[in-house]
Amino acid sequence: MDLIEVFLTAGFWAAMIRIACPLILGTLGELICERAGVLNLGIEGIMTAGAMAGWMWVYQGGDLWGGVVFAAVVGASLGLIHAGFTVYLGLSQHVAGIGLTMFASAMSFFTFRMMLPSSTTPPKIQGFQQVRIPGVSDLPFLGDAFLNHTPLTYATFLAVPAVMYVLYRTPLGLAVRMAGENPVAVEAQGIDVLAVRCGAVMAGSALMAIGGAYLTMSAFDAFYFGMINGRGWICVALVIFASWRPGKALLGALLFAGLDALQVRAQQFAGGAIPYQFFLMLPYVLSIAAMVVMARRARYPKALLVPYRRGERH
C-alpha cells in the first residue's frame, strides 16, 4: 500500500475525525477564555479532570450524557477557580493556570486511586457507540469515513457553529469579545466585565472538560494516567494558529488530527527505518511550527493577560 492510498481509505478519515474531537473541544474552550481576555493554562488539568469525571460517572452506573454533563460541571467549577484567581484577584494568568493544571491533575489521580485502590489495568466502561444514520451512513466511503460516528462526535462538530453564532451574532458574544479587547469599554456601557470574563472562563473550561471526557467516553473507554498527554497544550497552540477564530480552529484541529492519523499509518510504511519516537514527536513539533507560522499575522485580543480592576485608569 502506498502512502497516497491512505487517503483513499475510509479508516484514515474516520480516525482523523476521532482524533480531532477532543482537540476541537479543547481549542474552542481555550478560544472562548482568551477571547474574553483570560489565558487558561489550566486546560491540561481541566481536560484530565473532565476525562476522569466522565469516566467515573459512567463507571458508577450513570448514563452517558449524564457523564458529559458531570464532566462539564467539574470543568466549569475548575474554571470558576481560575476566574477567581485571574479575573477577580487579578493574579498572573500564567502562574494561576499552571497551578490549576497541577491541582486538577493531582485531584483526578487521587480520586481515581481512591475509587480503585489497587487496580493495575484500568477498567473499561461502555462508552458512546457509533450511530449509523439511516440512509447516508451506508454510502460507500463517505458513510464509513464521516457518517458513522458516536453521538458525542456529532455534538462536537455542532459545537463549532454554535460557538460561532454566540460569539458573533448575539449581544452576549459581543460582550465577551469586547471584554477581551477593551474591558473599559464594557464597563462604560454598564456591563459587569468581571462577570462576563468569569462566565466565559467557566463556559470555556466546561468545553475543555468535555474534550477530556471524549477521550474516556468515546475513544478509549477507560481512564489512564497521563492520557491527556499534552493535548491541552496543543490546543493552546491551535488557538494561536487559528488566530482566535472558531472556524479556523476547526480547520486547524482537523489538519492536525489528519497529520496525526497519517503519522500512525506512516509508521507502518517506515517499517522501523525511522524510530517510532520521531513519529510521536510530530504533533508537538507541528504545534510549535504552527505557532511560528502564524506568529507574525496573529491578531491577539488586545486585553489578553491584562487583569481588569474596576476604576483603575490604565
Binding site: 484577584l89 493574579l91 497551578g99 491541582f103 486511586r113 497552540a237 504545534s287 510549535i288 506568529a295
Partner: protein
C-alpha cells in the same frame, strides 16, 4: 470588594505568607484524608515523621530536595524576568543526556576535572534546550509557555529513542537504560549509608551565588528591571533581548545541572523515569519561595519532605501517594492568594 495596593509591606508579612498558605492547604487536604477514613492528625504525623523523624528520613528528604533546589532556582530566575519557562523537566533530561554522553567513557579524566565537566556540560545542554523558545519569543513573539511545554514531550521522546536505540546499555538485560557513568564521574556521597550526594552542595552554592548576583551584579539589576517593566528597561538602555537570553541560559543551565546530579549522583545511569516531574515541581518550589533564591532552598526541602513523607505515610495507612501532589498544588494556589494579600489590602465597602 476592592483591592488597594499597600504602600509599605512589613517583612514579617512577606515571610508569613507562604507559611500561611501551607497551613491553609494542609487544612484543605484534611478533607481528602477524612475521605480516606484515616484520622487527620495521625496521617499528618506519619507524613512529618517519615520526612524528618529519622536520620534516614532526613537524608532521603535532602536527597529528594537536591534536584528540586536546582529546578526551583531555574524557574525562580526565569519567572523573575517574566520568562515563563515551564520546560525545566525537558532541560533536566537534556542535562542528563549530556552527562551520559560525556560521562560514559567518551573521555577519561580524574574526578576533580570529570565532575565539573559533567556539570558544565549538563548546564550547556539545558541552556541549549531553551535557545529555540527564547529565540521565538524575542524574534517572533511566540509564547514561550507553550513552546517550552511542548519541548518537554519532544525531549522525553528523544531520550526514549536514545535509550532504546543507540545508547542502550547492552548489559542492561533489555531494560531501556544507558551505560553507567564511569567511576570518575560519580558524585561522592556526603553521608555514609545514605544516598545524599555532592549535588546538594552544588544546589546550595548555586542558590547563594544567584542570590548574591541578583542583589549586587549588573545582570541582577537588569534581570529585575526587565522582569518588572521591559518597556522602561529597554528605554533606559538595558538590552532587553540579551537579558532574556542570559536568563534563559541560566535557567536552562540550572535545570540541566539537576539532571546531572540525578544521573551522576543518585541513579548512576540514565533511565526514562529519571525524574518523577522534578521540572514541574520546580514551579511549585519557586512559587512557594516567592521566587527568592534562598527561599528556594527552604521550599525545596519542604516539598521534598512532603513527597518523602507521603510515601511512608501511604505505606503505613491507606492513603494514595497522590495526596502529596494535591498538597503541593493547593499550596501553590494558596501562596498565590497570600502573596497578593501581602501586596494589596482588601477593602469591603
Amino acid at each position: 470588594m476592592t483591592l488597594e495596593p499597600r504602600e509599605h509591606t512589613p517583612l514579617w508579612l512577606v515571610v508569613m505568607a507562604p507559611v500561611a498558605a501551607v497551613v491553609a492547604s494542609l487544612v484543605l487536604c484534611s478533607v481528602l484524608i477524612l475521605w480516606t477514613g484515616q484520622p487527620v492528625l495521625k496521617a499528618y504525623g506519619l507524613l512529618l515523621g517519615g520526612a524528618f523523624g529519622s536520620s534516614f528520613g532526613i537524608a532521603e528528604t535532602l536527597t529528594r530536595s537536591t534536584p528540586l533546589i536546582l529546578t526551583g532556582l531555574a524557574v525562580a530566575v526565569a519567572f523573575r524576568a517574566k520568562f515563563w519557562n515551564i520546560g525545566a523537566e525537558g532541560q533536566l533530561y537534556c542535562g542528563a543526556l549530556a552527562a551520559t554522553w560525556l560521562g560514559t567513557g567518551m573521555i577519561s579524566l580524574p574526578p576533580i576535572l570529570m565532575i565539573p565537566l559533567l556539570f558544565v556540560g549538563g548546564a550547556v545542554a539545558g541552556g541549549v534546550a531553551l535557545l529555540l523558545p527564547v529565540f521565538l519569543k524575542v524574534r517572533l513573539k511566540v509564547d514561550e509557555v507553550v513552546t517550552t511545554l511542548l519541548l518537554n514531550f519532544v525531549i522525553l521522546l528523544l531520550v526514549s529513542f536514545l535509550l532504546e536505540g543507540p545508547w542502550k546499555d547492552p548489559m542492561s538485560l533489555g531494560w531501556p537504560q544507558a551505560a553507567p557513568i564511569v567511576d570518575e564521574g560519580v558524585l561522592p556521597v556526603l553521608l555514609a549509608k545514605s544516598r545524599l550526594h555532592l549535588g546538594l552542595l552544588v544546589g546550595l552554592a548555586a542558590a547563594i551565588l544567584i542570590w548574591a548576583a541578583m542583589r549586587w551584579s549588573i545582570w541582577g539589576y537588569e534581570i529585575r528591571a526587565v522582569g518588572l517593566n521591559p518597556q522602561a528597561a529597554g528605554f533606559a538602555g538595558i538590552p532587553v533581548n540579551l537579558t532574556m537570553l542570559r536568563v534563559a541560559m541560566l535557567s536552562g543551565g540550572l535545570a540541566g545541572m539537576a539532571g546531572v546530579g540525578e544521573v551522576a549522583g543518585l541513579k548512576g545511569y540514565l533511565t526514562l523515569d529519571l525524574s518523577p516531574g522534578f521540572g514541574y515541581a520546580g514551579i511549585a518550589v519557586a512559587m512557594l519561595a516567592n521566587l527568592h533564591p534562598i527561599g528556594v532552598i527552604l521550599s525545596a526541602v519542604f516539598l521534598a519532605g512532603i513527597y518523602v513523607g507521603a510515601d511512608s505515610m501511604s505505606r503505613a495507612v491507606n492513603i494514595p501517594t497522590y495526596i502529596a501532589d494535591v498538597l503541593v498544588a493547593s499550596s501553590v494556589l494558596a501562596v498565590l492568594v497570600s502573596l497578593m494579600l501581602v501586596r494589596f489590602r482588601v477593602r469591603f465597602r
